[in-house]
């Protein structure tokens, strides 16, 4: 436990901040990664606005949950490591896992050098085989059925690696989410799968309250005997601890866990809705900064210098890749099949 007494500078009062299982090093690392992820998303948005990309979609507002998730993934390739089936608001997960930000910037610019899709897919549609990050697809529900397959393989394989799937609240209206609950809780064939819903309350322009009568999405796990929990995903410490608990449960019992995290959607749905900062949403990064300022682990100078450093770094990266080649028109047929090049008929 890392509990810190701190004194408010303005009020003579004593605050008690419970950092639970996070030590100072992890706290500051998480903070760094959250800033890094946020500055990256803002760079991608800027690139869109400067016409250096056709479309932006991403996950600013989910960093307080996604960074702790990425930090706790058992990272590697194959059945002995975690499989990730993510949606397009997951940049912070990848950054926390160690993705070079230039890979996101290249995909934004749809360059031939884009390691995720070779300039074929939207921003934040990552694919990293060496880390079991399966290709992110635009449909908002398909990952919940695809994840079943890697979990079936891992159940048979044994060990402690698990399958992690995430998606938004709107996507849970699709049948694939129900499929995930049903298949992962088949009697005697339960699956080691961490089912995550990052609930930002929105499906593009439609608010969840106008379409969903369930009290919480996690409640749906009850009917299947799936252990579940709702957390404040805007709180780094609560997220870290909840993810740790859920992962430990899935790794050891080889059974599913449904974790619903309430998060923010800080720049709207995508560039199609303007990618404008939403002042009425809770900013998890600002919240965390306040906590770390209060605990004395951060200073305003450190905050400014970190934000400036990443902003400049990513601006330089965007500049660096500006003249990287676009995909060759001749390449349109490549990889329709495994290791195939050119037109095949």
């Amino acid at each position: 436990m890392n509990n810190l007494f701190i004194f408010s500078s303005s009020i003579v009062n004593v605050y008690w901040i419970d950092f639970k299982n996070m030590n100072t090093e992890t706290l500051l690392k998480s903070y760094d990664l959250m800033v890094k992820s946020r500055m990256l998303e803002e760079r991608l948005i800027n690139m869109f606005k400067q016409s250096h990309g056709f479309f932006w979609i991403g996950g600013p507002g989910e960093e307080a949950f996604n960074v702790p998730l990425g930090l706790q993934v058992k990272k590697g390739e194959g059945l002995d490591y975690d499989y990730l089936h993510l949606h397009y608001r997951s940049s912070a997960i990848l950054i926390a896992m160690g993705m070079d930000p230039i890979e996101a910037i290249r995909q934004m610019k749809n360059t031939a050098t884009d390691s995720h899709s070779g300039g074929r897919n939207f921003s934040s549609h990552y694919s990293v085989k060496k880390w079991n990050v399966t290709p992110i697809n635009s449909p908002i529900e398909v990952q919940y059925t695809i994840a079943l397959g890697t979990a079936i393989a891992q159940k048979k394989h044994g060990g402690d690696a698990i399958t992690i799937v995430n998606g938004g609240d709107a996507g849970t209206a699709e049948g694939d989410f129900a499929s995930c609950l049903i298949w992962s809780s088949r009697p005697k064939h339960e699956l080691p799968i961490l089912i995550i819903v990052t609930n930002n309350q929105w499906g593009i322009s439609t608010h969840a309250s106008t379409q969903h009568g369930e009290k919480s999405i996690a409640d749906r796990g009850q009917a299947f005997g799936i252990k579940n929990r709702v957390i404040n995903g805007n709180d780094v410490i609560e997220s870290y601890e909840a993810i740790q608990e859920a992962m430990q449960y899935v790794r050891s019992t080889r059974k599913p866990f449904l974790l619903e995290a309430k998060v923010s959607r800080l720049y709207g749905h995508s560039s199609a809705s303007g990618a404008v900062f939403q002042k009425d949403e809770v900013d998890p990064l600002a919240l965390f900064e306040q906590k770390l300022l209060q605990s004395g682990d951060l200073t305003p100078e450190k905050i400014n210098s970190l934000r400036t450093r990443y902003t400049e770094e990513f601006q330089a990266l965007a500049e660096k890749i500006k003249n990287e080649p676009q995909p060759d028109p001749e390449s349109i047929y490549d990889f329709t099949y495994w290791q195939q090049k050119g037109k095949t008929w």
Binding site: N121, S127, I146, T150, I152, T344
Partner: protein, 352 residues
């Protein structure tokens, strides 16, 4: 001789033992039933899933992403349509990741008419499936080649679609499958109907099965002729052969090609035959509008127009919402022996 059902079962068994096939699944695919056509009976890795086509295809994609070769069955292709976007996604995965991932998965599904299956057990799927890039698609017309095509699917690193012509599932073949015993196959690998016997039953697989394969993308001339090229696959293929045999008595020599692979398909074989016969009839039973045969006609016209002595023709199913149950309705909805004979005569009479 083995039926197509038995051939599929033996190929899957061979795949389990020799080709790294780790999971065979779908609705009623595992014990006790072993598939509604019994094509997965007695297989050690076959298991039952929830009644959920999207879950079945999604799980297959996930297993394949994890490098686990698998076979998923959709009980009838009539029920595959709610999983079409996942099938499209499977076809996109290698391409959209710029070659990063491959999916060694096979989907099997019964297609077409012939069992009086009414509106939801008679659909064809070849027209829609051939419109989905990234898959290899095969459809056998006899047990031996069903075995060989399925073995090829199980060796392929890409998503493969094995379309099972349900009208042919229980018909015995005319040739032995390599490794198939000459007699007594039923006693070895068919589960007894008697419940008490069935509970104790274990399959006794032929020990000498081989990896006999029909290469994907290669068709076959099943009857040679000089007067017309007839290209078909699945249920209508044996009817085309029968039609050709009948017409040969009238002096018409039709060359019949079993396409076997719908994608990729053997254009070399088709085009060489058309250059010889100067006319072509394409036969399948999917609905005639935006039919795969229309693509073949387009290519025929594009590449062979000046070699044709008659307009190319497509004989296909009627463009109607489904196949009606009554005998009269089914017979009138999809090509039959008499309509194939008529179509061949029509093309030949149009030759200039």
């Amino acid at each position: 001789m083995a039926t197509l059902t038995q051939a599929i079962r033996m190929a899957l068994h061979y795949g389990e033992e020799n080709l790294g096939l780790t999971q065979i699944f779908g609705q009623d695919v595992g014990p006790p039933l072993g598939g509604i056509f019994t094509a997965t009976q007695g297989l050690k890795t076959a298991w039952n899933t929830p009644l959920d086509e999207r879950g079945i295809i999604g799980a297959a994609i996930g297993l394949a992403l994890a490098g686990q070769r698998c076979v998923a069955e959709i009980q009838f292709c009539d029920y595959i349509f709610n999983a079409l976007d996942l099938i499209m996604l499977a076809g996109k995965t290698c391409w959209s990741s710029n070659g990063g991932w491959n999916l060694p998965m096979t989907v099997m599904t019964p297609v077409g008419s012939g069992i009086r299956g009414s509106i939801y057990h008679s659909h064809s799927f070849d027209a829609i499936m051939t419109h989905i890039p990234g898959w290899k698609i095969v459809m056998p017309s006899n047990p031996k080649e069903g075995y060989g095509l399925l073995i090829s699917c199980l060796k392929d690193p890409n998503p493969t679609m094995f379309l099972m012509p349900k009208a042919l599932m229980y018909l015995a073949g005319e040739e032995l499958i390599p490794g198939e015993p000459e007699t007594g196959l039923k006693a070895l690998i068919d589960k007894p109907v008697n419940k008490a016997e069935a509970e104790l039953w274990q399959p006794r697989w032929p020990a000498d099965l081989t990896d006999f394969s029909i290469p994907i993308g290669k068709g076959k001339i099943v009857k040679e002729g000089m007067d017309i090229t007839v290209v078909s696959y699945g249920r209508t293929l044996p009817l085309c052969v029968k039609a050709a045999n009948q017409l040969s008595e009238e002096g018409v020599q039709a060359e019949v090609i079993d396409l076997r692979s719908l994608w990729p398909y053997d254009w070399e074989l088709i085009s060489q035959s058309i250059l010889k016969t100067q006319c072509v009839l394409y036969v399948n039973e999917d609905a005639e509008i935006t039919n795969f045969g229309e693509h073949l006609i387009r290519r025929t016209v594009d590449e062979l127009f000046y070699n044709l002595a008659a307009p190319p023709k497509l004989l296909a199913g009627a463009f109607i919402p489904g196949i009606g149950l009554a005998h009269s309705l089914e017979m009138a909805s999809v090509p039959q022996l008499n309509t194939i004979i008529e179509a061949i005569r029509h093309v030949i009479s149009s030759k200039t």
